[in-house]
Each structure stands twice: as C-alpha cells, then as structure tokens.
C-alpha cells in the first residue's frame, strides 16, 4: 500500500496509461508480424507530435471546466493562412511563419475566451459557434483553392523529415522534439507555477477561487489564449507535415483532442489532470489507431467508433477510480487520526 501513498489520481492515471501502452505493444506484436519496427515509431510519433500539442492546449481549457471545440478549425485556418502566405512570400523567415501561426491561433482563442469568460456564454456553445465560423472564414479566405506543396518553400517541406537524432532507422524528428519541449514546458507550468495551480483551483471549486480572490475570468481567458496559441502551432505543424492544405484541414481534430485529454486522465469537470497525461492519451489513441489499421484494415468509421469507445471507457473508469481513491484516503485518514 505504501507504494501508492504519495500518488495523486492523475499520477495513478499516468501509470495506468503507461501500462496500457505497453500492453497494446505486447498484444499487437504477438498478432502482427514485424510489428515493433522503426516505421511504427516514426509514423506514430509524427502523428502524436501534432495531437499532443493540440491536446495540451485543450487541457488548459478543460482544467477550468470548459471545452474548446473550435481547435480543429483553428488548426485548419492557421495551416491554410500560413501556407498561403508562404507560397506568396517564399523568403519569409521560418520563425516569422511560426509566430504568424501562433499569433493567429491566439487571436482566435482570445475571441473564444472573451465570449466565455466575460460574456458568460457556456464554452460548449461559444466554441461550437466559432468552430463553424472559423471554418467558414477558411472557406471564404481560401476561395476553395488548395495550398499546394509545390508552392511552399523548401525548408518547410524538409522540416518533417529533418532528424535531430537518429538511431539506425529510428528517427527523432524536429517536430517530435518540438512537441516534447511543449509537453515538458506545460508540465512545468501546470505543476510548478502559481498560475498553474490556480488553474486547477478554479476548475476544482470556482466559488472558493473567487472567495480566495483569484481573477477567475482572466484565468479562463488565459487558458483559451494558450489553447488557441497551441492550436496555431499545431496548424503550422500540420502545414509542414502535409503540405497540401484544403478547406477540410483539421476537421475532426477537436474530437480527437478532447479524446486524448479525457483518456489522458484530465477530468472533464475540471480541476485535475496533467500535460503529461494528455500526451500519453494522445500516444495511446494514435498507437491503437495505427495498430488496428494494420491488423484489421478497419475503416475510418471504425476509427471514430474506437475514439468514442475510448472516451466512454475512460470517463467511466475515471469516476470508479476516483471513488475508490477517495474511499482509500478516507480510510487512511480514519486510521491515522487518534481514537477517543
């Protein structure tokens, strides 16, 4: 019992996820020939790179008891917008392109945040609306044309295959490293800064947070700004990875990011969860998807069903685990307090 003494629910969840990921690897390597190879790693990591960054943005929002359904449209819009700019001004500095993507995303997140925090409209309504609005903005702006790989600058096209470190055929690519930096950065922000802890506090008990004198509204706005910024960054990564950007870019990312967050143990009612958990959630989802496709050749619809199932299972187990956990703490406390 002592081993799990210092464990918070989110730590326990991370542990469970690691075990699950290992289980998936073991199970599939026994049914698929030559499953564990460099290609699997490269493929899954390339896809997780995008989803994990997006999911961490989503995590910030979900921690405050909100949700952002517009992230898919933000990804699509920034990808197209930056791609369009780059195909016109090919000599733009790479850093400027990234700043542009993050800036546009932040702006869109800011609109969400202001509507939610200051106009007091429920986030699910606001972001359902902006999801459609941002998407339509993309359609209008693009005039239904496509950003083509041939028009993009060389450095961008080389980015996804740029390796920082390689072990044999196992490549640690620059986008993946970027994602790892984001994960570590936000893990630190959430765990070790007073801003991060207040984010948990607000989601955990908004009333008490107000009494404690926190600027709840500003905190919620900040969460949406960060989510938008990370969605913008994801948009840039999306552009780098795929090159050809159409008006449907990023559709479905909102659901997938929520799935990663929830599977990663972030409480959909706010107050608990971690950046690392969201990352693990993204890994598990992508790994399962990739493996199932290779094993059963399942269709895209089945992938959606799988996502849905994973969300249901993790929310259900969440409430069961939490109850167990609380019972455990209560008992422990009862034992340690002196009897009369």
């Amino acid at each position: 019992m002592n081993a799990i003494q210092g464990l918070r629910p989110e730590k326990l969840r991370e542990l469970v996820l690691l075990i699950l990921i290992a289980l998936v690897l073991i199970v599939f390597s026994s049914v698929i020939e030559n499953y564990l190879n460099a290609r699997l790693f490269n493929r899954v990591s390339a896809s997780v790179a995008l989803m994990a960054v997006l999911a961490i943005g989503q995590t910030m929002v979900v921690l405050t008891r909100n949700i952002d359904l517009s992230v898919g449209s933000i990804v699509g819009f920034t990808a197209y917008f930056v791609g369009h700019q780059l195909s016109q001004y090919g000599d733009m500095h790479p850093m400027l392109a990234i700043f542009l993507a993050v800036g546009v995303g932040t702006l869109m997140g800011g609109i969400n945040g202001i509507l939610v925090a200051y106009c007091r409209i429920p986030s699910i309504i606001v972001t359902l609306g902006t999801m459609a609005l941002y998407r339509t903005l993309l359609v209008e702006y693009s005039d239904a044309k496509t950003v083509l790989t041939v028009n993009l600058p060389r450095w961008l096209l080389d980015l996804p295959s740029l390796n920082l470190i390689s072990f044999d055929r196992l490549h640690l690519r620059v986008l993946v490293v970027g994602m790892i930096v984001v994960v570590i950065l936000f893990q630190i922000v959430l765990k070790y800064t007073s801003f991060g802890r207040k984010l948990y506090a607000i989601g955990s008990n908004p009333e008490a947070a107000k009494m404690a004198g926190f600027a709840n509204q500003r905190m919620v706005l900040t969460a949406f700004l960060l989510c938008g910024a990370l969605a913008g960054l994801t948009g840039f990564m999306f552009l780098a990875r795929f090159g050809n950007i159409t008006v449907v870019a990023g559709i479905g990312f909102e659901l997938k990011s929520v799935a990663a967050v929830v599977v990663g143990g972030v409480n959909i009612f706010g107050g608990s969860g971690s950046a690392f958990g969201a990352f693990l959630g993204a890994v598990l989802i992508d790994l399962l998807e990739n493996s199932l496709i290779r094993w059963l050749q399942i269709s895209e619809f089945w992938r959606d069903a799988l996502l849905g199932l994973l969300i249901l299972i993790s929310v259900a187990t969440d409430s069961v685990i939490m109850k167990r956990f609380q019972l455990y703490w209560a008992r422990k406390q009862a034992r340690s307090s002196p009897e009369t």
Partner: protein
C-alpha cells in the same frame, strides 16, 4: 424589501471568543457577509484596530486578517491539503516549492494539534478535517478575526472537542473568534461574551456569566405576541389519518413519531439544520425513509415515490418555489393542473384545455389569485400569488394529508394573512395538515400541536398552552430533554 439588519453594533476584542446567537432570520448570515466583505452595508461604519475601514470584496477582508469558516468548508477538492492551505498566498513567488510547502503545512497543522496527511487530496477528507484545513489556511494568512459560522453543525462530539481546542488556542494567540452556533451548550462552554440578535437588530451583549439560559432564550424570541395568537382555539379533532412511528433516514432524521388527525394542523418547528424538510420529503416519497412505520387511515403504507404519495392522498408544498415548486415559464393553468393532468385527458390522450381552464378559474376565484389572465407566465407573478398557484396545484389533487413547507416564505404581510386563513379553512373542512415553519409566531398561530425537531431528532410535541415561543426555542436549542 425588508431590512436584514438595523443599526447593528458589535465589538470584538482580540483574545476573546464571542458567540452570536439568534433564531432563523435574525440577521446572523447578513452580518457575517458584511464582516467578510461579501456584502456592503448601506450605512454605518466599521473600525478595525482603531481605524475606520471599508471593504469592497472578500479579498480586502482577507488582507485585513478577517477570515471565515463555514459549516460546509470551501476547499478545493482536487488540490491536496498543503495546496489548499497555501493557495491564497501571494508572496510565495511564481514557482511552487512543493517540499517546502509540505513542510510548512505540516508544521501549521501540528501546531494546531491536527494530524493530517498534507499530500492527501482534500476531496477525501472528513468535514472536520476540511475545516481544520480552512483554519490552518486562515492562520497561515495571519488571521486576526476568525468567524466560525455554525462550524459544529455536522461534526461528531469528538470533532467538536478538537475544534474547541483549536479555538481556545487561537484565543491565547490573541485572535478574535466570532462563534455562531445553534447549540446552547456549546455557546456556554466556549464563549466569553454573547451577543443576541433578533429580527435584524442587536438585542444585547453580555459576558457569559451574566446570562442564564432562560434569559438567553427569552431575548432570542422575545417579540410582541401578535394578533394571530388570539384566534387560536381548541378544536375537537377528527379521526386519526396519518400515524408515523420510529421514522428514520440515515444522515437525516431518526425516531420521528406523531399522529395527525382530521382537521388538525401539526406544526413542525426547529432551527436551520433541524431536518424538518427531510421528514416532509420522506413522507412525500422524494427521499424515502429507511425504517419506521407510516400508517394512513390505519393501513400500513410504504411511500417510495412522489407518485405513490399522491395516490395515497398526500400532497407536499415545497419551500423552494423556484427550484422544486413551479414551472416558472409555464402558464398559471398549466401549473395548477400539472400533478393531476390525468384527470384532464380526453380522447387520444389529449389534454382537454377547456376543463383545465375552468379548474384554474375556480382556484383563481377561491384563492384570490391576482392576475390579468390565467395564461400568464407564473414566473412573472408576485411571490404571494406564486404561493397561491402552488397551493391550488396541490389542492387540486384533493389530498387527505397536506404537508406545507414554509408556506409563507418570501411573501408580503397581506398575502401571509391570506395564506393563514386558507390553512385554517382547509383544516376546518377536515384536511389533515402538517405545517413546517421557521416563523415562530406563525407556528403558534396555526398549529393545534407543535412538534419540535433539533438536528434530526424529535425533541417533543407541545400541546395547546404548553406551546410558547420560549418552550419551542428551548427544545429547538436542545435545552429540555422531553416535555411532559
């Protein structure tokens, strides 16, 4: 609007425990909200350590060193104990130093004599431990005035002792403690001075030695005997309709026993937290009892749902119009016929609106509901008229037993008198009425007998002349064990 507080004066000294007592609605909560900066007073001034202060928010009160803990602690359930203690600290920098925080939290708690795992999430703590966390938080913020608002209401005896130890310790450290409780024993045990409030006014402040219990109760209730008193007369009661024996529900009430006769009004009196409403909810099947016997017309019945209760001829009028009572956006007519809609169904199961309307018309005239027309949205009526609609709605189910929960809450004096007349009329017609009310003069005026509850227990049933404001309050505050 009625005034919640009138020319209230209160002096708190450092190093004293000052008890604040008063019955429901005496103005204690309002006073606390003003002291903690949640509400602003319309008039008057506040001095803190000799300086005049104005507080515009709870943060400003905290900055001065005024903190409050409540019966239901305001913790962050997902954060651990140490974080809960330190989350409001501004001067600890941007970075969280976890180990230092755990050490500091441990030190504060052990100074208080509390043993708690500082790494445990607050959600798993008992209420008493959560309160300890709140107190530790207040101390760490250098509290000078600590307000304890009915902190003992949900604690066990042992936990109350623990809390008192902490309170005495704070007193030694020159903190001023304002202690609010409905338990007289506790007040006399812990307080140095006592202030009595009644109807929003300051009645008296004296040291605890200068108060006798009888005098304290007298000052709490001692208002003029009002006109309703005279109209109460001894009636001959009809046959027994409802009989309840050893009715209990875990974590709510236990050992409730009474008989209710035709034409009788049985008053339910008690202070906040006496669990009277829970008895009503159990009899109406919303939160059914765990054990005990309910007999209706001599037949043993089991009431597991509101539907079952209605079929047996029981109606319950809630104290919470907005949440449980009325469908605010619907019309008066729809609200009145809602529980008995079955009677209005015609061919193909469609509602016969004509007969609905005539029913509504009938009640409008009978209860004097003031409205331009019956299609009017209920949410737009005055409180008194809403109450009448709620009355109509349940009368229309033609109940044998009518449970009224705070029938005159939030309505004006005129409407109040009308409601009182209505209750009397119904009883005269032979209905058995159970009337839960926090308004002592009302209980006395309406009831043939008064059942007094305290913290989920039945303290006694007072009959006719035995029932006075003083005798009810004594029982409600746990003074007498059982009346004759």
């Amino acid at each position: 609007m009625t005034q919640a507080l009138k020319e209230m004066s209160l002096e708190l000294f450092s190093g004293e425990i000052h008890a604040l007592v008063g019955e429901n609605g005496a103005g204690k909560s309002t006073l606390i909200k003003i002291l903690t900066g949640i509400h602003k007073p319309d008039d008057g001034e506040m001095m803190f350590s000799g300086n005049g202060v104005q507080m515009n928010s709870s943060q400003e009160a905290q900055a001065l060193g005024i903190a409050a803990i409540y019966q239901e602690p305001m913790v962050f359930p997902d954060l651990d104990v140490a974080e809960n203690i330190f989350i409001s600290h501004r001067k600890r920098g941007i970075w969280v130093q976890w180990e230092k925080m755990y050490d500091d939290a441990h030190k504060i708690l052990s100074d208080l004599g509390m043993i708690l795992d500082v790494r445990a999430p607050a959600s798993g703590l008992t209420l008493a431990s959560q309160q300890a966390v709140e107190i530790a938080k207040a101390i760490s913020l250098n509290v000078k005035v600590l307000i304890m608002d009915e902190p003992t209401a949900s604690l066990s005896n042992h936990e109350v002792e623990q809390l008192f130890k902490v309170a005495r310790k704070l007193k030694q450290e020159n903190v001023a403690v304002l202690f609010i409780s409905h338990r007289l024993d506790e007040v006399f045990e812990i307080a140095d001075r006592i202030t009595v409030l009644r109807d929003g006014e300051h009645i008296s402040t004296r040291s605890v030695e200068e108060f006798s219990r009888e005098q304290l109760i007298r000052e709490m209730v001692g208002r003029e005997v009002d006109q309703f008193y005279a109209t109460r007369q001894k009636k001959k009661l009809g046959k027994r309709v409802l009989s309840v024996k050893k009715l209990s529900k875990e974590a709510a009430f236990t050992g409730i026993e009474f008989d209710l006769h035709q034409g009788e009004v049985l008053g339910f009196a008690g202070l906040v937290g006496s669990r009277r409403t829970d008895v009503g909810l159990a009899l109406f099947g919303i939160h059914p009892n765990d054990s005990g016997v309910i007999e209706l017309d001599g037949q043993k019945v089991s009431i597991r749902s509101p539907k079952a209760a209605q079929n047996l001829g029981i109606a319950y009028m809630t104290e919470d119009r907005r949440k449980l009572g009325l469908a605010m956006p619907l019309s008066i007519t729809s609200n009145i016929t809602l529980p008995s809609l079955k009677r209005y169904l015609g061919r193909f199961g469609l509602v016969r609106t004509e007969s609905e309307k005539s029913t509504a018309e009938e009640f409008k005239n009978r209860l004097h509901i003031k409205t331009p027309n019956l299609a009017h949205e209920v949410g737009k009526l005055s409180g008194g008229n809403q109450q009448k609609v709620m009355f109509s709605k349940w009368l229309n189910t033609q109940p044998k037993v009518f449970i009224l929960d705070e029938p005159t809450r939030g309505i004006d004096v005129g409407a109040k008198a009308e409601v009182h007349n209505m209750i009397r009329e119904l009883a005269d017609q032979g209905m058995a009425i159970l009337c839960i009310s926090s308004d002592l003069p009302e209980v006395l005026a309406m009831s043939d007998r008064v059942l007094v509850m305290r913290e989920g227990r039945q303290m006694g049933i007072l009959d006719g002349p035995q029932a006075t404001q003083e005798s009810i309050m004594s029982l409600a505050m746990g003074e007498l064990q059982e009346s004759a």
